[in-house]
């Protein structure tokens, strides 16, 4: 049995934040869960995926976040408790559905989980999704710890049902990826079937209906404004005339700072866990009892702006600060030392900080950037593209996946990236206004997620570029999740369809299509050259399974390669491929046989034919 299904209320389990969230949903009787995978949220979905294979929970990896939210919007409107999980930037994709779903509302509870990523450990931006609460008019809950994350989920479902609106559940990386002991609660029975009662004048959002629904949304927001005042997740602790208002992980840093600074009898803390709408009355009362207030929140001054407005309404003139010089930054994440120092500085108390060791004479340490795996087929494709494009002035728009790493030297394949699917859309623009050859890259999962509309656009508007689809049969970067092109029988799962990328591309009428096997270097280069010389949209599909994923199925490891004594130390292999299996020993190139995947790409490019398979 899956450990998160353990039915032992009161028992303690050490859980990752994302496991705690999934457990919270199980305790709340969640019956439908949908997602598009994205770090730092991925493990929530992974646990749902596993649980769905041994219980009545319905889970799906949807094509993208918008579809994922639409699926959950329907199941929740059929009265079934549903949850939709995504990373913060996924909310941008889902936003079209979100904004009007707020008008329509829900019948069964719906949680939309957004995992924000301050510092961008694994994201392209660090947007603060609390503003989606304001933008949509939906309530937002934010936990401060792993335990609280679990406990807040059942509360979020109840809130959603009482307001008949979806609830946005906002986490940050340090909640998702922290581990702590959690006390299990009782598991509510899962109700998987619902019904949908037709009511088109409340569900079909034509202007006349929406005008009425917006009134309803504002009325629900009023109700939420009452609930936030009495929510157990907004609370005051401590006493004194200094005030601190904080949310999320900042609450943990504040708790530690107040203890370390020995100022617990001087400060009151208002912890905001229900952050949209903000508890206006509670905040006004809090401000009224303080001499000065510090607002501690990662990201944007979301609370600070609201609190200052409340102070103005209440005619209070006490100093209220948060972001600013010598205070907190809008950039990156906080840490305990930073928070301790800012609190001490703001309230004028002394703070002993242990000096960091002097790093001035530490020699420069070589960087250790992540690298494509040994034998990764993307490396082979990038090499072939580079060779085929020799002599051409090029622009390489790229996309989001493991292959984004191809932008690093020595491959240098990647010139522009803004979001999922942007490779193809930006290719249209670059090729229109420059005279350079545009070659763009997209992975299979990203192609399905948001690459198809861009390709349709390219065909319709008759653009001119080569679009390389790196089809490695899995969503590799986020931990090998399925996508619509994946053969699910490999996972021993039945009941799935499978979409051929080649068939999609053909159906769209792409005038020049080729399929390559990237480990066949020469043939790949030839096919790419031909595609590059075509005027119009050419698509090259590079088909080879992600080698890291394939390892799970292979019974025997392919033969490794070694560098024989024919080697004359040109080092083309190292300097052009950068496969991590290579290393230097006494200035000679060697291959680490346990790392080498036997892809034989290096053997094909060695000018001396010095790289040979290890004899068994």
């Amino acid at each position: 049995m899956h450990k998160l299904l353990t039915d032992q209320p009161g028992a303690t389990m050490v859980l990752l934040g994302n496991e705690a969230i999934a457990r919270g949903a199980i305790e709340a009787g969640v019956a439908v869960a949908t997602t598009y995978p994205g770090t730092p949220s991925s493990e929530i979905s992974l646990n749902f995926f596993q649980i769905s294979q041994e219980s009545s929970l319905y889970f799906e990896y949807s094509t993208n976040e918008k579809v994922s939210l639409e699926v959950a919007a329907a199941t929740a409107n059929a009265g079934v408790r549903s949850m939709c999980v995504m990373k913060h930037v996924g909310m941008n994709v889902a936003a079209d559905a979100l904004m009007t779903l707020a008008y329509v509302g829900v019948k069964g509870g719906l949680i939309i989980l957004t995992a924000d990523d301050p510092f961008m450990f694994s994201s392209q931006n660090e947007q603060d999704n609390r503003y989606y609460g304001k933008l949509s008019g939906l309530p937002i809950l934010e936990p401060s710890s792993v335990e609280e994350a679990k406990n807040m989920i059942p509360y979020a479902f109840e809130l959603s049902e009482s307001l008949q609106e979806p609830v946005i559940f906002r986490t940050t990386t340090r909640i998702n990826h922290s581990t702590a002991p959690v006390t299990l609660g009782p598991i509510r029975e899962r109700v998987c079937k619902g019904d949908f009662a037709k009511d088109p004048f409340n569900y079909v959002t034509v202007p006349a209906v929406s005008r009425k629904l917006h009134v309803k949304l504002l009325a629900n927001l009023e109700k939420a404004a009452e609930q936030t005042e009495t929510s157990p997740y907004n609370f005051v602790s401590g006493s004194g005339s200094w005030g601190i208002i904080c949310n999320g992980v900042s609450y943990a840093y504040i708790t530690d700072a107040v203890r370390d600074l020995g100022i617990h009898d001087k400060v009151k803390i208002l912890r905001i866990g229900f952050s949209h709408p903000m508890p206006q009355k509670m905040i006004k009362t809090f401000l009224g009892s303080c001499e000065k207030v510090l607002v501690v929140e990662e990201g944007e001054p979301y609370m600070e702006e609201a609190i200052k407005a409340f102070a103005q309404e209440a005619g209070l003139t006490l100093p209220i600060n948060g972001k600013g010089k010598d205070l907190f930054s809008r950039l990156y994440e906080f840490n305990p030392r930073l928070v301790r120092q800012v609190v001490a500085g703001y309230f004028g108390v002394s703070c002993q900080v242990e000096p960091i060791v002097d790093l001035s004479n530490v020699p420069e340490i070589p960087q250790r950037p992540p690298n494509l795996c040994a034998g990764c087929s993307h490396r082979a494709t990038f090499y072939a593209v580079k060779k085929a494009a020799e002599g051409l002035a090029t622009i390489y728009p790229t996309d989001i996946g493991c292959y984004t790493l191809g932008f690093l030297p020595p491959l240098g394949m990647g010139d522009f990236l803004i979001c999922m699917g942007s490779s193809v859309g930006t290719s249209c623009g670059f090729s229109k206004v420059t005279d350079k050859k545009v070659v763009s890259f997209i992975g299979d999962s990203t192609f399905f997620h948001s690459g198809i509309p861009g390709l349709v656009n390219a065909i319709f508007n008759n653009h001119n570029f080569t679009f390389v689809i790196l089809d490695n049969g899995i969503t590799a970067m986020t931990g090998h999740q399925p996508n619509p092109g994946v053969d699910m029988s490999l996972m021993k799962l039945q009941g799935y369809g499978r979409i051929s990328i080649e068939a999609v591309v053909r159906a769209l009428g792409v005038p020049h299509i080729s399929v390559i096997q990237p480990y066949k270097v020469k043939k790949s280069i030839e096919a790419l050259r031909e595609a590059f010389s075509f005027k119009g949209v050419s698509v090259v599909i590079a088909q080879e399974m992600c080698t890291l994923y394939a390892k799970g199925f292979k019974k025997t490891k392919s033969r490794a390669y070694y560098v024989s004594d024919k080697c004359r130390n040109h080092r083309d292999c190292i300097s052009q491929l950068a496969c991590p299996a290579f290393f230097l020993e006494e200035e000679k190139v060697k291959i680490n046989p346990t790392m080498c995947d036997g892809c034989a790409v290096c053997a094909q490019i060695c000018p001396e034919n010095a790289i040979l398979p290890v004899k068994s």
């Binding site: 694994s122 990386t173 840490n335 305990p336 030392r337 242990e354 000096p355 960091i356 060791v357 020595p410």
Partner: protein, 198 residues
């Protein structure tokens, strides 16, 4: 801050540090010591660096700021050196000495630090350095993959963490595969001995 112990573990993806953290998590549970952890893996499977923070005792924070680690445990010498910003003059540092040079060295983008100099620098800036070739000790124990257990042994021998060797051994028995328990406990003991000798 006295009842709180902060441990940073740095490693290269695939070195088994996640298992080491989970063994310590189990040991803390057995010892009845509150423990919070956090992990950042910069695409660990793709050869990036993995950093775990373990905070023992009654703290709420799950991360450790620069200069605030009580112990730094490094699975790879250049990564130990890179994490020196987490240390202060009282920090105890434990490191494996067997290098895994990053790929950037092979393509001429950087020089791997000299192991002797590296130890010298750490020793002179921190309270104590315990350094060993954990790969050799793991091989002696019977499995090169038990580097993590060797380093756990050295860590526990320092007595800085509020968990005992017995707790950790019990945790190793429950958290690691049955077939490897003997090798793992042997590796742990070799780590303890190696730290004792320093």
């Amino acid at each position: 801050m006295s009842d709180i112990t902060r441990l940073i573990i740095v490693a290269v993806g695939g070195q088994g540090n996640l298992l080491a953290s989970s063994v310590l998590g189990e040991a803390a549970l057995l010892a009845g010591i509150p423990l919070r952890m956090s992990e950042i893996h910069g695409m660990a499977q793709r050869g990036g660096v993995v950093e775990s923070a373990l905070v023992f005792g009654n703290a709420q924070s799950t991360i450790i700021s620069d200069g605030e680690a009580d112990v730094l445990l490094g699975f790879e010498p250049s990564e130990t050196l890179r994490a020196l910003n987490k240390c202060n003059a009282r920090t105890v540092v434990i490191t494996n000495l067997s290098p895994l040079p990053p790929f950037t060295v092979a393509i001429g983008k950087g020089v791997y630090p000299d192991i002797g100099e590296l130890q010298q620098i750490i020793r002179e800036k921190t309270a104590r350095l315990i350094a060993m070739n954990a790969v050799d000790l793991a091989k002696t124990a019977g499995n090169v993959l038990s580097v993590n257990m060797v380093l756990l042994g050295a860590l526990i021998q320092t007595g800085i963490l509020p968990v005992t060797a017995d707790h950790v051994i019990t945790a190793i028995r429950t958290k690691t595969k049955a077939a490897f328990v003997d090798i793992n406990t042997r590796a742990f003991d070799l780590g303890v001995e190696a730290a004792l000798r320093q």
